[in-house]
Amino acid sequence: MLQSGLVKYLRDGKGFEGTLIVAAVLYLLVFAAFPLIYTVVMSFQEVDMFTLGTLVRPFAGLTNYTDLFHRPEFAPIVWNTMIFVTLSIAFQLTIGFALALFFLQDFPGSTYVRGLFLAGWILPALVVGAVWRWIFAGDFGVLNYALQSLGLIDGQIYWLSDPAYALYSVIIANIWLGIPFNMILLSVGLAGIPGDVYEAAEMDGANVIQRFLTITLPMMGPTLGAVVALGVIFTLQQFDLVAALTQGGPANASNVAQYWSWQMSFQTYEISGGATVATMMIALVIVVAVIYVRSVQREQSF
């Protein structure tokens, strides 16, 4: 009797909503809040392989941070990360936007071709990395072969092993990987602009460029803001491509913060160092996330 009453409560009564909320909150606590706080805590502790098993470790204050800032690779990696994020997003956004506008034109098969573009996005980044590694391979790569066939270059360009190119090769692959996502989000934003607003602008005397500048761009503002914010977050967690393409090398030429953090945590077991990098990235992502949330709110206000 009691048991069936409980089942009924959970199924029909307030217990159902309560269960859903508790499940969601529990999930967030265990899988989001705990690792996040644990990472931040570790960035203020002395952690090595021998203290991994305990939670109480010597408090390190800010030494992990100062130690990090004084490493010779710190400045180059921060700079690499900035280039990586900025260039990735700039090109993902412009190319994605151009494609979104292109597929807005109703030509036969446009929806199918647009769907095909998504295929690139659903591929795991590691697979994409493997494919791009073949493309970029220095001695027997597709890209060098193509460039040589076209007569654009004479010798080999070592896309991945030449420190001058490695970072940009990873960026190119990341741009390719991010374009479909940008395109789809921007397509959705563009579809949200009513057609008659464009017609009204046309009647009011706006030509194509003026319509883009005065109607499309401002009305896409919130969507663009959201896409940029998501882009920053995704780019900052783009680990797989780096791992598959260059592993940060050669000589840290293509190393970025997220990969560095992993290297320290899981290759040289400087776990507090890895946690410190991760914590600084968390802070940055939080700032971006706030911008994103603001942007989404503004989107709803139209």
């Binding site: 008659d196 607003v197 017609e199 009204a200 602008a201 009647m203 009011d204 005397g205 005065t214 109607i215």
Partner: protein, 352 residues
């Protein structure tokens, strides 16, 4: 002189023909209503004039100049959309000044013209607001204001009142009409509501299935509908149609179980016809041509009484200005003036 001249215009969507051989002259300064049921092609016709739809064949002239291949922005026409199509990211002021800013008019002129339009439409206090913060009626006014500031040759209205509630619709009807008179521009107004067309327009174009059924002044359409469709569409409540047969002498028709009604003009004896009787022409005092009927339904609003009456198997709607009390099943003697009886060919629908 005509502001707009349309000759033999055809518009196809693939194999579907949306407009058939439309020819229409719109005089300078006229208020022309394009009216018809949904899907009749009235909005398409308006959009071809605007340039938002291409035409398959024919010619459109604005102020004597062929505009077939001109972009909408080169035609100097202003349009008010059914959805208003306001720019959501701009304030009321920016919405109204948009066209002038695109033309790089001096700021003083823009301010003056926007100010004037705002005054005419009572929008002065709303200039800094966004469309989202406005009521439906206010948005409608902004859409009008956006058109007014341009001082165009022609205003195109695409069902501008259909999203408003009934009371506001009646009010805006007369405001638009007044505005038209004051601005003196030509207006082309699309509506599915024949009352709007009747009350606002100088000239009504009735469209049906992509064809023009009749063009005329409102009362001409009411009095002399060219065919059964126009007769049924213009007038409210709608005209009653009763199958009838012309008698041997050609001067009367027989309806229902043999009631004889005198007709205005002699017809070919024995011919089958459709008799059109307007509800408001049927009198309850039995004067004129007399019909005996039975009350089916009676609805009174005080000022008006609507009765659905039965003659044999035919139903007749009666509209009586005033109160009248009776009950379902009661006998009813109706009368109608011979001149108010319309006759239509049952096959072609043409007025006889």
């Amino acid at each position: 002189m005509n502001q707009i001249e349309i000759e033999h215009l055809n518009k196809n969507y693939g194999s579907l023909q949306a407009l058939h051989d439309i020819s229409l002259d719109i005089p300078v300064g006229a208020f022309v209503a394009l009216v018809g049921p949904s899907g009749c092609g009235k909005s398409t016709l308006l959009r071809t004039i605007a340039g938002l739809e291409t035409i398959t064949s024919g010619t459109i002239r604005v102020a004597g100049e062929v505009v077939n291949d001109k972009a909408p922005r080169e035609r100097d026409l202003a349009m008010v959309f059914q959805s208003y199509a306001l720019y959501p990211h701009m304030t009321v002021e920016q919405n109204m000044s948009y066209s002038l800013r695109l033309r790089r008019r001096p700021k003083a002129e823009i301010d003056e013209r926007v100010g004037e339009a705002a005054r005419i439409l009572g929008l002065e206090k709303l200039l800094k607001r966004r469309p989202k913060q406005l009521s439906g009626g206010q948005r409608q006014r902004v859409a009008m204001g956006r058109a007014i500031v341009r001082k165009p040759k022609v205003f195109l209205f695409d069902e501008p009142l259909s999203n408003l509630d009934a009371a506001l619709r009646v009010q805006m009807r007369s405001e638009i009409r007044k505005l038209h008179k004051n601005l003196g521009a030509t207006s082309v107004y699309v509506t599915h509501d024949q009352i709007e067309a009747m009350t606002m327009a100088d000239l009504i174009v009735v469209l049906h299935d992509g064809r023009i059924e009749q063009i005329g002044r409102p009362l001409d359409l009411y009095r002399r509908p060219a065919n059964r469709f126009v007769a049924g569409f213009i007038g409210s409540p709608a005209m009653n149609f009763v199958p009838a047969e012309v008698t041997a002498d050609g001067r009367t028709i027989a309806i229902g179980t043999g009631t004889l009604l005198k007709i205005p003009r002699a017809q070919e004896p024995g011919r089958k016809v459709l008799a059109g009787l307007r509800p408001e022409h049927l009198r309850l005092d039995g004067s004129g041509e007399r019909l005996t009927a039975t009350v089916d339904i009676i609805e009174g609003t005080g000022s008006m009484t609507f009765i659905e009456a039965r003659i044999g198997s035919d139903l007749l709607n009666v509209a009586y200005a005033g109160t009248y009390e009776t009950e379902a099943g009661a006998p009813l003697t109706l009368g109608i003036a011979s001149d108010d009886i319309y006759l239509f060919d049952p096959e072609t629908g043409r007025a006889l």
